[in-house]
Symmetry: D2
Subunit: 352 residues, 4 copies
């Protein structure tokens, strides 16, 4: 209800602020008897953590996860997993100077309007640091999906106006943008670095591909698989849009072009992006999300303070020049959470 | 859980199949003491019903709503509203010939995979007819929002490749496409009609604009206002994507271009589309959805039958050449449901 | 949230007022492919309907159920079942004379305080007539439980101060009280009739026995099987208490008396009532509920009117002298709903 | 869904096992801007913690709470509160000897049947230690209720067969049983001590009284205030029954005896226990719960081991001879959670 939980059967609840005591997650609805190590979770958190390259923030959070419940003798017990990351690299002083101004692009103004109080240390709960809990929870879902032979993999498809033209999954983890095209990656890095040097930042687009989902997954009407994936993705702070399969190109297409016809070996095309009527059709599930440029830039911008007076602001500090590579594991985590939840819901409905 | 309910406090549950006994909705969480007439609900249903123009299906459902509970002496009592529309223009025979084939673009195949049974009369539960319940529920939410001085208005922004270039709210209900640009509307109609004559159909894009929402609405983290609007919109059968404000253009923008700076009279731009950090910022809320071309076309297409053998199919019957104008009231209804639910959730959190 | 839905996976939403257009239920989360006839549902409704004997209300509702969605060719499709009973024997005039007074024992006063409006026709939504939707939904759950070899059977264990001393399931449906002891039943009937002739009514106690549940059903902590059964039972208007197994006698017992020891053939006793730590232990599940005397009595009582002035009232009309026999099928229905929901939740958790 | 969360708007999720890393709670839906200190929460935890007297377990957990999120500058921010208690006094060795046997009265057998795995350290998640999270969450709800002038107070009304005959709130916290009658308390203590010396334990009954709730609180139909209180109470491990107001005595009462008549100053009696039709009527809310004798006793009992062979067992260790005094703060905490949740739900429904 208050928006800090996600999923219905396989359900996570996250907590924590950027500069409070800790961030983390409770995972409820976990399958018992599953071998789970801290390392498996840490591995995904390491893909999300700051300081991975020159284009991501140098904040130095080790982001070490502690699993304090729900595991016994190396296996899950079916009771809630508490996974917690204590905050260490506090630097709230950096925010003191601007604590009475609203940073453009940030949720400072809207949170104050909603809650009537403002945690000015970093972005408080609105910080991207909150996604650590999602990634930890997603790592657990990913483990369960691996047992179903499902692979969830995202990459940066576009950044700073540069588009990938080929798809090579091998290169994704080998370039700082997590782009799927080694050539484009170099150009992206160049342009993002140039923007950074101009005290600016870059937007982009992340694509996610999910393989191994058999036909029949998803609920009808309101909880369509694509509706819940859209919910999951738009809940990521920087995401401003999502499209499945042919996406917004459908506005130029006719039915005869768009319909995926069928043959004896399945669908002849995949304009639907693997989902029809909200239910998986057995093809690869493909969607793309629009990622806005990092709001924190060192460039002077106009804003107002808490008295409503016009001021200028420069958001100094430690920021990502392009957030796409760090969004990639978050997109994957959220997709994993949606899928595992739907598998469990499907089992519930069919149970006799 | 099984996907037929939407909303948390202001919550609808829809029921009914295209060719079963009835379709409709139960609205729970209704404010008591609100004057509500059948006419107010009927008015929105009339905007959704078939047979409004040459480009929409000639199926003749009067779509007359009956409110059987939750109202006493003209006012809501706070108990559930049951709103029901009995089906009348059955024509299941039209479907007998193709009942063992999967219609391309339709959910025939995926529903069978999910449930193991197939209701071949029309699309059963997957039919667009299901949205009548949403529109009825949305009409009630709209009434409550009117009391908050909020206006929710959608239009076709693009269809059959033709884009609107001006925004005139007065013309929307006066052209068969519900386009916002009278000139473009004519061209759209021409092209949609041409496609129809070729036994084909047209996709498009619908835009929704919401005014009057004060800053501070929306939940943090997972239930961001944009995340729930995305969930709502992607739950509409034909919708394949959504974007807010600058949308997918963010991939080409820099932070200094995208950030909405502030002045003494509010934000200087609205790239965010009225929502920052998942919470309304007081600007107009603007989003666009991608609408796929109607799947039912009279043109021959390749498919397989229930034995997996390749066949050809022609989806005769009564279909919409472009579904955009009938999606418009559904988009509005879903947006109304999301907003009213969030207002009630906000009141709950703040209650002392 | 607003209290008109029950269950998490197998979920019902009821609607309707005593003297409105209809009462009924939407069942969501239904297993597809199950043969289901209107007769199976009607059979349970007939056990609940008024006019079955001299000690129950003579209101003449045929209580004929109509299933308008969710079934195709005699089988469930997995989509929502709408089951509706149109109201016919309206007699709201009976209530006009007392519409500005609060009937003692009824929810007139509390509903007005909550909602600010009052539906004075019968008890509106607070009427026992609302339970028809529960019984219809429960009949569907019962069908699924039968496939799991589970039997849910309730009876009147006490009424008007008379206690059953033997348990013979064969006699339950053969006496107007639905008592489990033929001798006691006669005495109960005598005393209830005597109270009725004095313009009074009788309270009682209903016991429910559930057999066939294997060990392992129920969720830990908050959703213990007994906690959810308690929730279900106390949601029935006339129920004022519940106890499992040894129940309130535990206050006089020591641990060595109360603990159910185990042997090679299972538990040696069943003080726990079949549930330990919120989870079924394989023994018969046994609980009892306290049923208050019918509030509507023709005897003069003191009350106040809507202006707060003291008045006297006589609740004439058509009422049950003892509601126990009609509570029996409602108790069974609610128990069926809880069990089926927990089976589906268990399947979800274990799904891999 | 998996049973580790409670409440709809004001919602807690608890985690942790008896001998794992920590136990605790996430509170979501918190009102922002409320002053909250660790001491306020600690105060309630101290009432629940072990080692308070000779009749409670000597396990030495300091039970120090840490609040790691949701508070800034001494006030709540409206984001989730994480409250955590690290486990310190591990003594799992005590359980090694009996780890392959099922302790009578404990959930060892049922948890193994449900999950297929067994955490044999203490009772794992089924331990009463889990209630620490409830008490911490309840302390926050209690703070909000204090602002509404509501008092929630429970006491031991009966233990080891001894009943309280007077009600003096002043003595409750001054005797080891938390009884409300100083004389009875002495007798209770004597008898419980005698049972303890015989390696046995005592059951009892706890009563809760809630004052200050205005008429109109509670949801109709399924989420009646008494139904949710029953759910809350039966979710406490040792509770086997609940009754409101006249409770099970209704089985001997007639309608004219039971109905609470009204006068100009309110109800003349309170047989209803403050709730009619599931909604508060403005009178004191009164209910009693049956508390089973502690299952862990040092006396020899018969059981089976994991191979199903008959064995004898003696549950040595550190146990409560009567759990009633430690259940008292848990009953209060759960009642506070239910009430605050309903206040917030009521505000949501009425919001315009």
């Amino acid at each position: 209800m208050a928006g800090n939980s996600f999923g219905q059967v396989f359900r996570i609840t996250t907590f924590g602020e950027s500069h409070g005591g800790a961030v983390g997650v409770v995972v409820d609805g976990m399958t018992p008897g599953i071998e789970l190590t801290t390392e498996e979770v840490q591995k995904q958190l390491d893909r999300r953590k700051p300081g991975q390259s020159s284009i991501t923030t140098p904040r130095k959070e080790p982001d070490t996860v502690n699993i304090l419940s729900g595991i016994f003798e190396g296996k899950t017990t079916g009771t809630p997993l508490l996974m917690i990351l204590y905050n260490s690299d506090f630097e709230p002083e950096a925010y003191v100077a601007i604590k009475d101004m609203f940073r453009p692009g940030h949720a400072d103004f809207t949170y104050l309007q909603k809650y009537g109080v403002r945690d000015w240390r970093g972005s408080g709960r609105a910080s991207g640091r909150e996604t650590a809990g999602r990634v930890a929870g997603g790592a657990v879902a990913r483990k369960l999906l691996a047992g179903r032979n499902i692979t969830v993999r995202a990459h940066t498809a576009k950044a700073a106006g540069v588009t990938c033209h080929s798809y090579d999954p091998e290169v994704i983890e080998k370039n700082p943008l997590r782009a799927c095209d080694a050539e484009a990656a170099k150009e992206m890095e160049k342009r993002v670095t140039a923007l950074k040097e101009q005290d600016d930042s870059a937007g982009g687009m992340v694509e996610c591909r999910i393989s191994g989902v058999a036909p029949g997954l998803g609920e009808p009407v309101f909880d369509k698989l694509d509706a819940e994936l859209a919910h999951a993705m738009l809940s990521i702070g920087a995401v401003k849009g999502i499209e499945f399969g042919a996406g917004f190109r459908v506005a130029e297409m006719s039915g005869s072009e768009h319909n995926d016809q069928m043959g004896e070996n399945g669908f002849l095309t995949n304009n639907a992006g693997g989902i029809i009527g909200g239910i998986s059709n057995g093809e690869e599930i493909v969607f793309r999300v629009a990622v806005k440029p990092t709001s924190s830039i060192a460039r002077l911008q106009q804003t107002v303070d808490m008295e409503g007076k016009t001021r200028t602001i420069r958001t100094e500090g430690r920021h990502d020049a392009c957030i796409c590579p760090r969004i990639v594991p978050v997109v994957e985590a959220m997709a994993c959470l949606v899928l595992e939840d739907h598998f469990k819901r499907q089992a519930a409905m069919l149970a006799t």
